[in-house]
Symmetry: none
Subunit: 221 residues, 2 copies
């Protein structure tokens, strides 16, 4: 998640940048309005923090300018201008929230999270260079998409979700195939073979190991 801070007071910028980075956000800063505008033109941000009084282009105009071509990115005003009238003006200009200085950093973080909350984070599982995107239902190896069938996908996902733990054949039959009694025709082997082939995994030394007599185990290397 990439946040842009447009603010000219150095102390505040540093305070915000450090705090937000500690929260795990990527942060870019601009110390005047025109620099902020330039950045917005050339890059995609997930959220913008905006001061009102800025050199060159003020925050209100910048907000309007951003909204002309981008209606989506959340903009939060962060300003000492705290009259009702100004708040309203800021919101009318296209801002999504308006926080008055002095503000609590914690509250700011919570309000930022509100905007990210509904952006459904696609859950991504990894196994070394392999990524499984559950919401997109795709598998990537080295950023290249690998087409798996439904069962292959389910089996691989199961192993990766249990990464580091041995999955017995019976567990796999139970959880992936929903076969609750002992009955093994060798389906698992067939699918393991298909998965290894498609993902180009070597039997011996790669991410998915065979535990002879027991089952399989997935592991990062």
């Amino acid at each position: 998640m990439h946040i842009l801070i447009v603010e000219d007071e150095l102390g505040i910028v540093q305070f915000l940048q450090q705090g937000l980075q500690e929260e795990g956000y990527e942060v870019t800063t601009a110390n005047d309005g025109s620099k902020g505008f330039e950045l917005v033109q050339n890059q995609q941000f997930d959220l913008i923090l905006l001061d009102w009084m800025l050199p060159k282009i003020n925050g209100l105009d910048l907000c309007k300018a951003i909204r002309i071509k981008d209606q989506k990115t959340p903009i939060i005003f962060l300003t000492a201008k705290d009259t009702v009238h100004e708040t309203i003006e800021g919101l009318k200009a296209g801002a999504n929230d308006y926080i008055k200085k002095p503000f609590s950093f914690e509250e700011l973080v919570e309000r930022i999270k509100v905007h990210f909350r509904n952006r459904k984070g696609s859950e991504i599982l990894t196994l070394g260079a392999i990524k499984i995107d559950l919401s997109k239902h795709i598998v990537l190896k080295n950023e290249e998409e690998i087409a798996l069938t439904q069962r292959e996908f389910e089996l691989l996902t199961y192993l990766v979700q249990n990464k580091g733990k041995v999955c017995t054949r019976n567990q796999i039959l139970k959880d992936v195939w929903e076969i609750n009694f002992e009955y093994d025709t060798g389906v698992i082997d067939v699918f393991m073979n298909a998965i290894r082939k498609k993902l180009n995994l070597k039997i011996e030394e790669d991410y998915i190991k065979t535990i002879r007599g027991i089952g399989y185990i997935a592991n990062d290397l």
Copy 2:
């Protein structure tokens, strides 16, 4: 636009109800938490205004309860509890905004509008060369209008709103057809077929992919 006010102080309720109705909103009120919960269960609101201290179920718990089954509807806390800690708690419970009493009615209206703006802002959905104008209720491909029926329109809209995420058949039946139990006659296939035909989408390489055994997914290319 239908707003629910959950608030026990009669004076505030009347003040809000009248004011918001003058702004053109439809307003429903509940004077305690359990009544509010009941209304939310049985009706669809576009926004909820919530007091914190309420008889029977307090606002915080009500907010959490609503969020269990509904992540989308904006919730605005409107309360005299004004410490930073409480604000944060409210936002963490799933609220989208937190306004402290006493508040300016104008600011409230503006903040309400913010939440509806995003809805209007995304009134034009896109999927590659396809545009869906929700307010005009039309679909364009390469600026040329394509006539879709109601259900076709709803299904396409649903997929595009969930762009990049797999929509399972059950989800589609639930959200588009409002069938909440497992019952698939193959309607979805028929409509998918109609949509693809009208929009001239190839099954293999185009915007809407079939995920065998799961459902469908829309994606820009």
